[in-house]
C-alpha cells in the first residue's frame, strides 16, 4: 500500500545525510578553479564538478581567521570571537539546530577537526541550546598525541596546531579522549597509531577518522574541517600547492566512501567550500598567497560545490552568495530552523 508523496518526502528528509568539507585553510581561486590553478584539483574538476551545482562567487564578509571563519560557517553568523582562543561560538551552531529541532542523538552529528583550537566548535553556550546539545567533536591530532603520550617533542611538526602562530597550541581538556577510539571508532590504540604511520598528513588522518565514523556511527550530519593548506603561512608555495592537491584527493575519497556505503549512498548531499581565500599577489599590504590579512577580494571571495541527493548536476551559478548562507540552506534541506542565522537559504539548492 503506497503512502502519499508527502509522507515519502518526509521519510526521505529523515534519512537525508549531509557531509560538509571545508577545503581549508584558505585557498585562493588562482590555485584552484581559476584556469591556471585547475591542474591542482583534478578530482574536483573531472570527477565531482560534473555531478555538482557549483557556485563561483562565495563571499566571506567576516573575520578571516580559520577558527572564527569556520565557526561562522557553522553558525550562519559572522562570529567575532578570538581566533586563537579555545572558546565556543557566540551563536547556536548548525549541530544544535539540527539536533534540537529534529530530536537527534549526539551520535548523529560529528565534527572532525584538525587542531586543538577547534575543540569548541561543536556547540555554543547559548541559552536553550549550548552544552550537550551540539555535535561531538573529534580531534585526530589530539587523539594521536594522547595515543603517544610524551612523544610530542618528537612529533612537534605533526602536532603543530596551526601555521599562523606555529608555536602556539591551546591546551584543551575533555572527556573524549582515547576511549573514543575503542568505544566509537572500534579501533585499538595500536591499530590507530600503526595506521597513522602510513599517512603523510594530518588531513589524511582526519579523513581516515571521518571514514571510520561513517562506517561505525553513520552520522547524519558530518562536518570535516581540512587544514593542511594552512601550511602556506610558512611561505613555501610548493607545500601550499601540494596541500591543495592532497585536499582535492581527500575530498574525492570521502565522496566515494559515501557512495560505497549503503548508509550514505543515494541519500547524501556533500558540500565542499574553502573557509576563505588568501591575499592577492598585487595587494601591497600582504605577501601574496602566504597570508589572509588584507581583507582584499582574493582573500574574501571563494567558491562552493554541492553534490548528491537533491542537487542539480553540472550547473554553474555565478550569482553571489555568502558563506553564512550555508547553515540556512542546510536547515531547509534537512528540515530544521536555524533561527539566529544571518544568511539566507540558497534557492538554487532547494
Amino acid at each position: 500500500m503506497g503512502a502519499s508523496p508527502f509522507v515519502r518526502g518526509e521519510a526521505a528528509r529523515k534519512n537525508r545525510k549531509v557531509i560538509v568539507i571545508t577545503f581549508g585553510g584558505g585557498a585562493r581561486d588562482q590555485e584552484t578553479f581559476a584556469p591556471e590553478g585547475q591542474e591542482n584539483i583534478p578530482n574536483l574538476l573531472h570527477d565531482l564538478i560534473p555531478q555538482s551545482s557549483f557556485f563561483t562567487h562565495v563571499t566571506n564578509q567576516g573575520i578571516l581567521g580559520h577558527y572564527v571563519a569556520t565557526a561562522s560557517l557553522a553558525t550562519g553568523v559572522y562570529e567575532t570571537l578570538n581566533n586563537f582562543s579555545a572558546v565556543a561560538p557566540q551563536h547556536p551552531t548548525v549541530f544544535e539546530y539540527f539536533r534540537k529541532d529534529l530530536k537527534r542523538p549526539s551520535s548523529d552529528a560529528w565534527v572532525v577537526a584538525p587542531s586543538n583550537g577547534f575543540n569548541r566548535i561543536g556547540e555554543s553556550e547559548c541559552r536553550s541550546y549550548g552544552r550537550g546539545q551540539g555535535a561531538r567533536v573529534i580531534l585526530p591530532k589530539h587523539l594521536l598525541s594522547a595515543a603517544k603520550p610524551g612523544a610530542s617533542a618528537d612529533y612537534g611538526h605533526l602536532l603543530r596546531d596551526n601555521y599562523e602562530t606555529p608555536l602556539y597550541t591551546p591546551q584543551i581538556s575533555g572527556d573524549l579522549e582515547l576511549h573514543q577510539l575503542e568505544m566509537i571508532l572500534k579501533l585499538s590504540v595500536d591499530d590507530f597509531v600503526a595506521h597513522a604511520r602510513t599517512l603523510s598528513s594530518p588531513d589524511e588522518l582526519s579523513v581516515y577518522i571521518a571514514k571510520r565514523l561513517m562506517k561505525q556511527d553513520a552520522p547524519s550530519l558530518l562536518w570535516v574541517t581540512m587544514h593542511d593548506i594552512d601550511v602556506a603561512h610558512t611561505g613555501a608555495y610548493s607545500l601550499y600547492v601540494d596541500a591543495i592537491r592532497r585536499t582535492d584527493r581527500l575530498c574525492s575519497e570521502i565522496w566515494h566512501a559515501a557512495q560505497s556505503d549503503p548508509e550514505y549512498a543515494g541519500n547524501t548531499t556533500l558540500f565542499i567550500l574553502p573557509d576563505f581565500g588568501r591575499d592577492s599577489d598585487f595587494d601591497a599590504g600582504g605577501n601574496g598567497f602566504q597570508h589572509h590579512r588584507t581583507g582584499d577580494a582574493a582573500s574574501r571571495t571563494t567558491w562552493m560545490m554541492a553534490l548528491g541527493a537533491g542537487v542539480r548536476q553540472g550547473v554553474l551559478y555565478d550569482n553571489p552568495i555568502q558563506s553564512v548562507d550555508l547553515v540556512p540552506t542546510l536547515g531547509a534541506i534537512m528540515g530544521f530552523s536555524p533561527a539566529q542565522a544571518q544568511g539566507k537559504p540558497i534557492r538554487e539548492l532547494l
Binding site: 564578509q61 602562530t165 597509531v193 594530518p202 610558512t234 611561505g235 599577489d281 599590504g285 581583507g295
Partner: protein, 402 residues
C-alpha cells in the same frame, strides 16, 4: 588619551632622533585622528634605525602634514576620523607601544566590520601622498636579479610562468660562471653609484664573499640568531598565560643584543636582520621564505637600486608518517620544492620592485642556476617573447641595463 593632548615630554622614551622628529611636528600630530597617529608613530619610534629612504619618506610626510592648516588636516583625514575605536584602545599606551596599538586596532577593525573602510582610507591617503610628495629622482634605473634552483640537476616543469609574459624568455643562456658574472656586475654598479643601502646581495644559503659596497644578508650567517630566537620563542610559549598576541609583542620588543648580535656592528642593518625573523612568518623555518621576505623588505624599506637574490635549497617539510616511524632525516633538503618556492618568489621580487618609483624604467632578470633558462624584463625588451640566442649572463645583464 587622544592626540590633541599630546605633550613633548610623553616621548621621553623614544630614541634621540625619533624624539626630535616628534618634537618638530607635534602641532600637526595633535590635529590627527587616533586611528591614524599610532601608525605614524610606529614608523617614527624606529627612526634612529631606519634606512635613509625610510627617513626621507617620514620627513616628507610629516613636512607635508605640518604644512596644512587645521581645516585642511581635518578634510584630508576625515575618513580616518570616521573610524570609531574602543575606549580600551584610546586608553592604551599607544605613544610608547604604537606597534601593539596598530595590531590591536587591526583586530578591532575586523571585529567591528570597519576594516574595509580603513583599507580604503589608507589606500587613498597613500596614493594622494605619492602625488603630493613624489620621491626624488634616482641616479640609475633599478635592477633586480633572482637566481633560483641551486643544486637542481634538471626540472621538467615550466619555470618563470608568471614572469614570461612581462619579458623575454631565453632558453640558450650559457650558464658557465654565471653567478660570478652577476655578482661582479652588481658590484660594478655599487662602485659606480656608491650610496648607503642602495645595492644588496641576499643569499638563502651560505653566501659568497662579496664587496663591502654591497649590503649583504645570508641565511647561514644568521643561523646563531635564528637558533637563539627559536629558543626564546619556545621559552615564551612554555610560560603560563602566554598566547600568540603576547608572543608577537615580545618578539617585536627584542633588540639585537637580546639574541647575541654584536653591538659594534651597523645598528640599522642589525635591526633589519633581526626583524626578518621577528616580523617574518616562516623565515625561521625555511631558507626560501627567508630570502623571499628579505627581498620584499629590502625593496619596501631600503628601496634598493640593485638587488641580487640567490635562493638555496630549504629543509624538507617532514611528512607525518616519517615523524611517526622515526625514519626522518632532519638534514634532508627539498630541492624541487625549493625551486618551485623560489620561482614564485622571483615573481614576487619583480612585483615588489614594480611598486617602487620609476618602475617603468627598471629591469629584472631571473635565472635557473646552472642551466640555460632565464627570463629578462626591461622597458625595451619584447613582452611574452622567446629568444634562443646563445648568450652568457654578463652579456644578458648588460643588454637589459643598457
Amino acid at each position: 588619551m587622544r592626540p590633541n593632548n599630546l605633550q613633548a615630554k610623553q616621548f621621553a622614551g623614544y630614541p634621540p632622533q625619533a624624539r626630535k622628529v616628534v618634537e618638530s611636528h607635534l602641532a600637526a600630530l595633535r590635529e590627527l585622528p587616533l586611528s591614524f597617529v599610532p601608525s605614524l608613530l610606529r614608523e617614527i619610534i624606529d627612526y634612529d634605525y631606519k634606512f635613509p629612504a625610510e627617513r626621507l619618506a617620514i620627513d616628507s610626510e610629516l613636512a607635508n602634514v605640518s604644512s596644512l592648516s587645521p581645516a585642511e588636516i581635518k578634510a584630508r583625514f576625515r575618513p580616518f576620523a570616521e573610524i570609531s575605536l574602543s575606549l580600551e584602545l584610546e586608553q592604551s599606551d599607544w605613544i610608547n607601544h604604537p606597534a601593539q596599538f596598530v595590531e590591536q586596532q587591526s583586530a578591532y577593525l575586523w571585529t567591528t566590520h570597519q576594516l574595509d573602510a580603513f583599507r580604503i582610507a589608507a589606500t587613498e591617503y597613500g596614493a594622494r601622498l605619492q602625488v603630493l610628495v613624489p620621491p626624488g629622482p634616482i641616479p640609475i634605473h633599478r635592477l633586480g636579479i633572482a637566481v633560483i634552483g641551486q643544486g637542481m640537476a634538471s626540472f621538467d616543469g615550466k619555470l618563470f610562468r608568471h614572469l614570461r609574459e612581462h619579458g623575454t624568455y631565453f632558453d640558450h643562456v650559457k650558464p658557465d660562471d654565471g653567478f660570478r658574472l652577476l655578482l661582479d656586475a652588481v658590484t660594478e654598479r655599487a662602485k659606480a653609484h656608491s650610496i648607503p643601502y642602495a645595492h644588496w646581495y641576499i643569499d638563502g644559503g651560505e653566501g659568497v664573499a662579496s664587496s663591502p659596497l654591497l649590503t649583504s644578508v645570508s641565511y647561514k650567517e644568521l643561523e646563531p640568531v635564528r637558533r637563539t630566537l627559536l629558543k626564546l620563542m619556545q621559552a615564551d610559549i612554555d610560560r603560563p598565560g602566554m598566547g600568540p598576541e603576547e608572543l608577537r609583542t615580545h618578539m617585536a620588543r627584542l633588540t639585537p643584543a637580546d639574541v647575541g648580535m654584536d653591538a659594534k656592528n651597523d645598528s640599522v642593518l642589525e635591526r633589519f636582520r633581526l626583524k626578518l625573523f621577528t616580523e617574518g612568518s616562516g623565515t625561521q623555518i625555511f631558507s626560501t621564505t627567508f630570502a623571499q621576505w628579505a627581498t620584499r623588505e629590502v625593496l619596501r624599506r631600503a628601496q634598493a637600486l640593485t638587488l641580487l637574490v640567490r635562493y638555496a635549497p630549504r629543509q624538507r617539510q617532514l611528512p607525518m608518517n616519517e615523524l611517526l616511524s622515526g625514519t626522518l632525516d632532519p638534514a634532508a633538503l627539498d630541492l624541487e620544492g625549493s625551486l618551485v618556492d623560489a620561482d614564485l618568489a622571483a615573481y614576487y621580487h619583480w612585483i615588489n620592485q614594480q611598486r617602487l618609483f620609476a618602475s617603468e624604467r627598471s629591469s629584472f632578470l631571473a635565472w635557473f642556476e646552472g642551466h640555460s633558462q632565464a627570463v629578462a624584463i626591461a622597458p625595451f625588451l619584447p613582452k611574452g617573447s622567446k629568444s634562443s640566442q646563445a648568450i652568457d649572463l654578463g652579456k644578458l645583464l648588460a643588454l637589459i641595463v643598457s
